[in-house]
């Protein structure tokens, strides 16, 4: 019987290289995770001390004074996101309806492509655009301008997720409705959209989360303010801008506030993201990337 040594066939260096690359690949996955862990840790460590109920509900105080909070910024963010939603949800969902109902149309192809391009666009540019239009027209930085800028940022996201959720509705549902004599427009608005409700809502939540975290466009539109929003045509504070403004300041007490605000923002963002992911997976079986 022949002595067979299989071991010598694959050279040692090849086996070694295989093992090294395996390790490197695993390492890169861990490396990619490290910043996430570090950022969250940093936010918790640096931000926790600043957090308190009064932090959420009181107004900022001058440097050197104790206490104070970021309530006006929370309000400002909320108002601007609300304006943005008011603009983007109708336009975005309707556009999404068009993409899913008339996908062969020329308008659909071009618009869908533009939509995708707009979704990845530098938000700073959108801020400049809102400045050149709204701010120059009204002569002032304003919550309205900020809301409009955020709205433009939200539209492509809403449109895209709306399109996907609507497309995911099985044809049989549509056909059943049409067969009952319900006109097409009613079918889409009442039947298809309610079936796609889950996906539509998750899409809207995702886009709101995205808009709530944007800073750059607000620099040129809403500016910054330490007080509550009383007039939509006045500058308004926002959470992200606060983080920026206080973060780059020379005062360590302001740094702590920035981290506190950052912790709140991260907590909102991450929980929304996770919730949306789980919700989407469970409800529709689709993976929301």
């Amino acid at each position: 019987m022949q002595e067979y040594t299989f071991e010598k066939i694959t050279s040692r260096s090849r086996t070694l290289k295989n093992r090294i690359m395996n390790i490197l690949i695993t390492l890169s996955a861990l490396l990619a995770l490290t910043p996430l862990i570090l950022i969250i840790a940093d936010a918790v460590i640096q931000g926790m001390p600043a957090l308190s109920l009064s932090f959420l509900f009181s107004t900022p105080v001058p440097v050197g004074y104790q206490g104070g909070g970021i309530a006006p910024m929370i309000q400002g963010s909320a108002i601007m996101v609300a304006i943005a939603s008011l603009i983007s949800i109708p336009i975005g969902v309707t556009a999404g309806i068009f993409f899913s109902e008339w996908p062969e149309s020329r308008i659909s192809t071009i618009s869908s492509f533009s939509n995708d391009v707009l979704a990845e666009f530098p938000t700073m540019v959108i801020g400049v655009f809102a400045y050149a239009t709204v701010v120059l027209a009204t002569g002032t930085f304003s919550a309205l301008a900020g809301g409009i800028a955020l709205g433009i940022i939200m539209i492509p996201i809403v449109a895209r997720t709306a399109e996907e959720s609507l497309k995911a509705v099985p044809n049989s549902v549509k056909e059943a409705s049409l067969a009952l004599g319900i006109p097409r427009w009613k079918t889409v608005i009442y039947v298809v959209m309610s079936t796609a409700k889950g996906g539509l809502i998750t899409g809207i939540i995702l886009s709101i989360a995205r808009a709530a975290g944007e800073t750059a466009p607000l620099i040129l539109t809403a500016g910054f303010s330490n007080s509550f929003v009383s007039n939509l045509l006045n500058p308004a504070g926002s959470i992200p801008y606060l983080i920026y403004y206080y973060g780059i300041s020379p005062y360590s007490s302001w740094h702590a506030i920035a981290w506190g605000a950052a912790l709140i923002l991260i907590a909102i963002m991450l929980s929304l993201s996770l919730a949306v992911r789980l919700f989407a997976k469970v409800r529709t079986g689709l993976e929301v990337a």
Binding site: M1, Q2, Y4, F6, E7, I9, T10, S11, T15
Partner: protein
């Protein structure tokens, strides 16, 4: 079942040992048992056909011979497969080395699309670190000739492999498998995606190849098995029903199931 019992009187080894022995092979996925205990001998320098209706486990059997089966998720395999007396499933054996000795040609031709015809042929050799231009050229020519493809491609070795027709691509895959000089070549229904002309060319190549190599051929086409092979194994529902010289299996099968299969009554 002892491995000696696998052989009926017609198929005595006349003192020679078989190239490969399959002993008590069980395999499947998760709870599904596909092979229920196969004992088989694969004789050297010959073509052994493995045939049977869909789902009988013939492809699984083949993929156990080069340790490809275990890479699928949930796959399990137990038993022994001896190659020249050494169990390829023993802990000391590196599966990578097994696949070097036991090559495979797949059902659908799968040349590497980003490589030229030449590069495809020598892909296996490059893995072993051979860089010498002369050696590679010689090996490429030798393998392509053995696969009956040389004359058709010798002037366009740098063209992409995807520029070849389906039948040519499959012969390229055969050449690619041959270049690393394996000892056994496994063929998983190599002609099922090809037209009759291409099929004929590959069968002709097989005839030439069996003088140097051991070939195990899985086929759902019993006529092909009859045309081409020296020995035939008939599998049904994960069990080896009958094994013997092809002539005997087809003209005088001992098992009723075998007879029904070869006369086309099912499968």
């Amino acid at each position: 079942m002892m491995k000696e019992d696998v052989f009926s009187e017609n198929v005595s080894l006349q003192g020679k040992l078989a190239k490969m022995y399959v002993v008590g092979l069980r395999a499947g996925y998760g709870k599904e048992i596909i092979l229920k205990g196969i004992d088989l001998a694969i004789r050297d320098k010959s073509i052994t056909a493995v045939m049977g209706p869909s789902g009988c486990g013939k492809t699984t059997l083949l993929r156990c011979l080069n340790r490809l089966h275990e890479l699928s998720s949930n796959a399990f395999v137990s038993g022994k497969v001896l190659l020249d007396g050494v169990d390829i499933y023993s802990k000391q054996v590196d599966p990578v080395s097994v696949r070097r000795k036991v090559g495979m040609v797949f059902q659908k031709p799968n040349p590497f699309p980003t490589m030229s015809i030449f590069e495809n042929t020598v892909a296996g050799l490059r893995l072993t670190g051979i860089k010498d231009k002369e050696k590679l050229n010689a090996a490429a020519e030798r393998s392509l000739r053995l696969a009956f493809l040389w004359d058709e491609v010798k002037d366009r070795l740098d063209r992409p492999a995807t520029s070849l027709s389906g039948g040519q691509q499959q012969r390229l895959c055969i050449a690619r498998a041959l270049a690393i000089e394996p000892e056994v070549i496994l063929m998983d229904e190599p002609c099922s995606a090809l037209d009759p002309v291409a099929t004929a060319m590959i069968e002709e190549a097989m005839f030439a190849l069996k003088r140097q190599y051991t070939i195990v051929l899985v086929t759902h086409n019993s006529q092909q098995a009859a045309r081409v092979s020296d020995y035939t194994a008939f599998l049904y529902m994960g069990e080896l029903i009958e094994y013997g010289q092809t002539k005997q299996i087809f003209e005088n099968p001992s098992n009723e199931l075998t007879e029904r299969y070869v006369t086309g009554k099912f499968g």
